[in-house]
C-alpha cells in the first residue's frame, strides 16, 4: 500500500463533482486538440473560482509531477467517456451475470432436475415411486366424485353471452369464511346459478375467517360443488369425535383449561356447524373429477395437489389435502414449504405428455390433465398451463380469486380485495 496525500484525494473527488456541474460538456475540449494531455483541455469550474483551499490543493498536485505515462493513463481514465463506457460495460456484465445466476441458471437447473425426476428410467434407481401401496380407506371420507357432465361448458365459443345454452364453471380459491368477499366476487363475475353457471370451491371454505357457517349456507344454496380441504377435514373429524363422545351440544366441564387454544377454536367451529352443514361438507370429495372440458382437457379439482403419474384412485387423501412440495427422487409429497413445488413438477409432467401426444393424437389436449387447486397461499396466484393455483390469501388481507371457464375453453381470472381478518384478532 502506497500512502497517498489525503488532500490530493480530496481535490480529485471535488474535481469530479465539478465536471458534472460545468456547463459546457468537457469532452468537446478533448476533440479540439489531441496532442495535449486531456487533463489540460478539461475546463473546470475550480479554475475560475478564486482563492480558497482549492488553489492550495491544486498546487500540491502540480508539485508531485508524476511521470508522463501515468499522467496519460490518468487522463484517459478520468475522461468522462471512458468512465461512462466502463460503467456501461460493468453494468451490462452485472445484469448479465445476475440474470444468469438468478433467472436462467436456476431455470435450466430446475428443468433438468424435473426431467431427470420424471424420467421413467430413474424409477428403479430410486427403488420405486410414490403410489405403489394399497390406498388406505377411511370412514366418512369420499375419495373421488365426478361432476355432472351437463354442467361442463361446450366446445363451441360461438354461444352468445345471454343465450340459455351458455355454460360457465366458476372455480373459487380458499374462502375461509370470508362471506362478504365471496359475495362480492360472485357479483363481479355476474354469477347466475340458474342460467348455466356452476360454482366449484377448491376447499377450505371454513375456519380462520369471520363467517364459516354463512359461507357454507351460501354455497349450498347455489348447489355448488366443492372438495375437502385440510380445514374441513380437521373440523369434520373433530365434530365426529364430539358426536361420539356426546359432547357436541354441551362441552365437557372445564375443557378450555386442558385443551390447546387451537383445539378450543376447532371444537367451537365444529359445534357451530349444523347437522345439515356438516353433512354437506363431508359429502365434498377429496378429488373432484370435472371430466373433459373442451379446449382444456381433463380438469380435476383438489385442495392442495396431486402426485404426477399416479392414478386419481391411488392418490393418498391426506397428501392431496396438504401437499406443497414433492421429493424429486421418490415423488413422495410433503406439506413442508422447502423443496420442489408439486405444481411445477405436475405441469412439467403434463407438458411432456402433451408434446408426446402432439405427434400422435388428433386432439392432444384431451389426453392431458389440468389441476385446479388452492391451499398454498404463500406462493400467491400461480397459474400454469396445467395447474391453476387459486389461493391468494383472502383471509389474511390478500385477494379472493376466481377462475372462470367459458364455452370453448376460454379462461379468465377475476379477483377481489379482502379485509385482513387475522390482523383484527
Amino acid at each position: 500500500m502506497v500512502p497517498r496525500d489525503p488532500d490530493a484525494m480530496g481535490v480529485q473527488s471535488d474535481a469530479d463533482d465539478d465536471f458534472e456541474l460545468s456547463e459546457s460538456p468537457p469532452f468537446y475540449a478533448a476533440h479540439r486538440s489531441q496532442s495535449r494531455p486531456l487533463i489540460h483541455s478539461a475546463r473546470n469550474a475550480r479554475q475560475s473560482r478564486p482563492g480558497g483551499s482549492y488553489n492550495a490543493a491544486s498546487r500540491s498536485l502540480d508539485d508531485t509531477k508524476p511521470p508522463r505515462w501515468i499522467e496519460m493513463s490518468r487522463s484517459v481514465v478520468s475522461a468522462p467517456r471512458f468512465r461512462r463506457y466502463v460503467l456501461i460495460c460493468l453494468g451490462l456484465f452485472l445484469v448479465g451475470w445476475v440474470s444468469w445466476r438468478m433467472l436462467l441458471y436456476p431455470r435450466l437447473q430446475e428443468r433438468s432436475l424435473l426431467l431427470h425426476s420424471l424420467d421413467p428410467s430413474t424409477k428403479t434407481e430410486a427403488g420405486g415411486w410414490f403410489g405403489t401401496n394399497v390406498m388406505p380407506q377411511f370412514d366418512d371420507i369420499v375419495h373421488i366424485r365426478t361432476l355432472d357432465p351437463e354442467l361442463v361448458p361446450s366446445g363451441s365459443a360461438e354461444v352468445e353471452a345471454d343465450s340459455s345454452s351458455r355454460k360457465r364453471l366458476i372455480f373459487v380459491g380458499d374462502v375461509h369464511g370470508c362471506k362478504a368477499e365471496l359475495e362480492e366476487l360472485l357479483e363481479k363475475v355476474s354469477f347466475k346459478p340458474n342460467s348455466g353457471d356452476h360454482l366449484i370451491l377448491t376447499g377450505d371454505l371454513i375456519n380462520k375467517g369471520p363467517d364459516s357457517t354463512g359461507v357454507v349456507d351460501l354455497v349450498r344454496g347455489y348447489s355448488a360443488s366443492c372438495v375437502r380441504g385440510n380445514h374441513e377435514d380437521r373440523i369434520l373429524l373433530v365434530r365426529r369425535e364430539l358426536v361420539k363422545t356426546n359432547t357436541l351440544a354441551t362441552p365437557e366441564d372445564g375443557e378450555e383449561s386442558y385443551l390447546s387454544s387451537r383445539e378450543v377454536r376447532e371444537r367451537a367451529l365444529a359445534r357451530s356447524l349444523s347437522d345439515e352443514q356438516a353433512k354437506w361438507l363431508s359429502s365434498c370429495p377429496v378429488i373432484l373429477d370435472v371430466g373433459p372440458v373442451p379446449g382444456i382437457g381433463q380438469v380435476v379439482v383438489v385442495h392442495a395437489g396431486l402426485v404426477p403419474g399416479v392414478e386419481l384412485e391411488k392418490q393418498d387423501p391426506s397428501s392431496v389435502m396438504t401437499m406443497r412440495t414433492i421429493d424429486l427422487n421418490t415423488h413422495v409429497p410433503s406439506p413442508k414449504k422447502k423443496g420442489m413445488n408439486w405444481a411445477k413438477m405436475f405441469d412439467k409432467h403434463q407438458s411432456l405428455l402433451y408434446s408426446n401426444l402432439e405427434s400422435s393424437a388428433e386432439d392432444p389436449l384431451s389426453g392431458t390433465m389440468t389441476v385446479v387447486y388452492g391451499h398454498d397461499a404463500s406462493s400467491s396466484l400461480s397459474v400454469r398451463t396445467f395447474t391453476k393455483g387459486l389461493d391468494t390469501g383472502c383471509v389474511k388481507g390478500g385477494k379472493l380469486t376466481a377462475l372462470v371457464v367459458e364455452d370453448g375453453g376460454k379462461q379468465n381470472i377475476v379477483q377481489v380485495k379482502c379485509k385482513d381478518y387475522l390482523k383484527e384478532k
Binding site: G127, E252, R262, E263, S318
Partner: protein, 305 residues
Amino acid sequence: MRSLATACWLYGLLLATIVSGVRGSTETEPDFMSVRKNVTREYKSEKKIPTEKYFHESSFHYHYDGRFANETLPESEVIPHLSALVQTYFSTMNAIGAETWIMHGTLLAWWWNQKIFPWDNDLDVQISEATIHFLAEYYNMTEHHFDLPDVDGGRAYMLDINPNYVVKSEQDTMNKIDARWIDMSSGLFIDITAVRKDENKRKNGHPEALTCKDKHHYEESDIFPLRDSTFEGVAVKIPYAYTWLLEEEYGPKALTQTTFSGHTFNGATKIWESTKRKLKRFLRQGWRGDDLPVRTSDLNPIIET
C-alpha cells in the same frame, strides 16, 4: 363377486355381534366415556426417577415376555400370533372406548397394505395420557379370553400397566414403555406408549408439544384428530398426518421402496412376498371374517369397593 359380497356381509355380521356382545356386557360398568371427566385433567408427574425396570425382556428374545414363555415361536407362527394380538387389542380398546392408535413400524405396515409386515416381530401403539390413567385405574392386570380359529381352547391376553406410568420424565429411561398387551400363550406382546403434554416445551412457546418417554416428540395437530381405518381386519385409529409422520420418522424412501428385509412388495397382489412358502400362504389368504378372534371372557373393569 357374489361370494365376496357374502363374505363381507358375514364378516360385518360377525363383527356386529362381537361389538354388541361386548357392549352389552359393559353397559352397567364404567366405560371410558363415562369416566372421561375424571381423567381429562392435568396430570402431575411423579418427581422421583425409578431405579428399577418394570418390563423385562426375556433372556431368549427381546420381543418375548419371559414370564409367559421359555422359547421363541417357530418363524411361521409369529405373524399369525401378532395378527391375533392386534385384533384382540383393538377390539378390546374399541369396546372400552379407549383412545389408542398405531404408530412407528406398525403405522408403516398399515400404510403399505393394512397388514403386519411379514418380517415384523413387534407392534407399536400409542395411547393418550387420559387413557393410560383410565386403563391403570380400571383394567390393569385384567385377563381377556378369545376364541381363535384353529386354536384349541383359544388364547388369553393380559393388559399389564407399568406402575411407573405416573413418572412423566424422559429421564426414566428404564420404563419407556407404559403398558403391554401380552399374548399369555406365547409371550409376544404389543408395546403401548403413552403420549403426554410436553410441559417444558409448552412453557417455551410450543403450545402443542407432545412427548413420549421413548423420546419421540410430536405436535398435537399431527396426531389429533385421529382417523378411523382398518388394520388386520379390525377397526383402528390412525394419527391425523400419517404420511407426514412416516416421512419424518423413516424418510420418503420408506414409502416407496418395494424391496425390504428379503421381501418384495408385489404390485399386483399388494403383498410383501417372502421366499418362505408357509408364511406366503398365510399372507396371501390373509384374514377372513371367520378368522377373527371372538371374545369369550367378560370385559369387566376392576372396581374397588
